[in-house]
Amino acid sequence: MSETVWLRSDEWVGAEVEDSFVMVSIETGKYVALNKTADAVWRALETPCSVSKICDILIERFEVEPEHCARAVATTLETMRTMELAKPQ
């Protein structure tokens, strides 16, 4: 698996609401509610983290197949990059 390391943007702040994690961009005020996968990826990125490490965390937490997890993580990270929530180092 890729060893690209990803890190969070400092520009977002979050809060727990019900079982979800919602976030607002400090810069733009844009709002987003994270789904379960995105929430788990965001939490994994508490410290800069490689893609393989993120997958290991999610596999342990959700008991999913590695291939399925890798696809979901890749999609989520790309969405986060587009939204400027996270970026590759």
């Binding site: 809060a15 609401v17 019900e18 919602v22 607002v24 005020g29 709002y31 509610a33």
Partner: protein, 282 residues
């Protein structure tokens, strides 16, 4: 009354549950007899304004500039108003209550919603009716007042966190009606409330969907509450976006929030709407 300096003493008023001494009229503020003012609104000499952004910082002063109207210089406990030469005094006063005072509410760390708020007859808690300009917040409040409700706020509601919940306050002395030229409709003192516990928030919309009053769970309420902020540029300038998110999250978890869709063609509240409001706000 003149002060010892020979200058007229500013009127002491109550706005957003705070005593304010003001050189300018503040439509909707309550009389603050005997109150010690913690906020001062001063009228400065007219001066020409330089072009620039609507909001900017000048050292520790937040400056809001309304072209051809006035410059409002804000500190946490003061507003200095410098009109533009030839500016309409009514416009100067209107923006004081529409923008400068809500900005001070943000500064004291209260959440500020673009909303009216009333307490229905027999109730103790306020229902806030939020929505964009022109949606009919004040018109709804006026109908509720005609049926015995008491006014807490007209266009902007301050929501302060207290130990056992949230408190709503605003300019409770009257409301503004009308689309073009808005007229001020004062409310008798016994029909005004300086502050009231917040009981519910109704997010008003008027579109082609069937009329409805639908409870929103906290997650669904969140983006709506964030969108209902009044003058959201101000908390951004104050570096308070994180606090606002947190405040909205606490509010969404603790206070019932409803999406209220009304028909454009039906300005008067229906019997069903009355019953539902009484159930929510009673």
């Amino acid at each position: 009354m003149l002060s010892t300096s020979g200058q007229p003493e500013p009127a002491t008023l109550v706005a957003f549950d705070r005593a304010v001494a003001s050189d300018l009229p503040v439509a909707g503020a309550l009389l603050g007899r005997g109150a010690v003012a913690h906020t001062r609104i001063r009228l400065a000499d007219a001066r020409a304004m330089r072009p620039g952004p609507l909001y900017r910082w000048d050292a520790e002063v937040l400056v809001f500039t309304a072209p051809d109207v006035a410059e409002y210089r804000l500190r946490s406990d003061a507003i200095q108003v410098a009109p533009s030469p030839g500016a309409d005094p009514q416009q100067v006063a209107a923006l004081l209550i529409a923008t400068a005072l809500p900005a001070l509410v943000w500064w004291r760390r209260a959440l500020t919603l673009h909303a009216a708020a009333v307490v229905l007859p027999g109730a103790t808690g306020a229902i806030a009716i939020a929505g964009p300009s022109g949606i009919g917040k004040s018109a709804v409040a006026a109908q509720l007042l005609a049926r015995g409700a008491r006014l807490v706020a007209d266009d902007s509601v301050a929501i302060d966190t207290v130990s056992d919940g949230f408190v709503a306050s605003g300019l409770a002395g009257g409301y503004h009606l009308g689309d073009g030229e808005r007229r001020f409709c004062p409310v008798a003192p016994d029909r005004s409330l300086r502050r009231a516990p917040l009981a519910a928030i109704l997010l008003l919309a008027r579109d082609a969907r069937a009329p409805s009053l639908t409870p929103l769970g906290p997650l669904a309420a969140m983006p709506c509450l964030l969108a209902a902020q009044h003058r959201p540029r101000v908390p951004a300038m104050l570096g308070r976006r994180a606090e606002v998110l947190d405040a909205c999250a606490r509010l969404a978890r603790a206070i019932p929030v409803f999406a209220w869709n009304r028909e454009y063609a039906v300005p008067d509240l229906t019997a069903r709407e009355w019953d539902e409001l009484a159930r929510i706000g009673g």
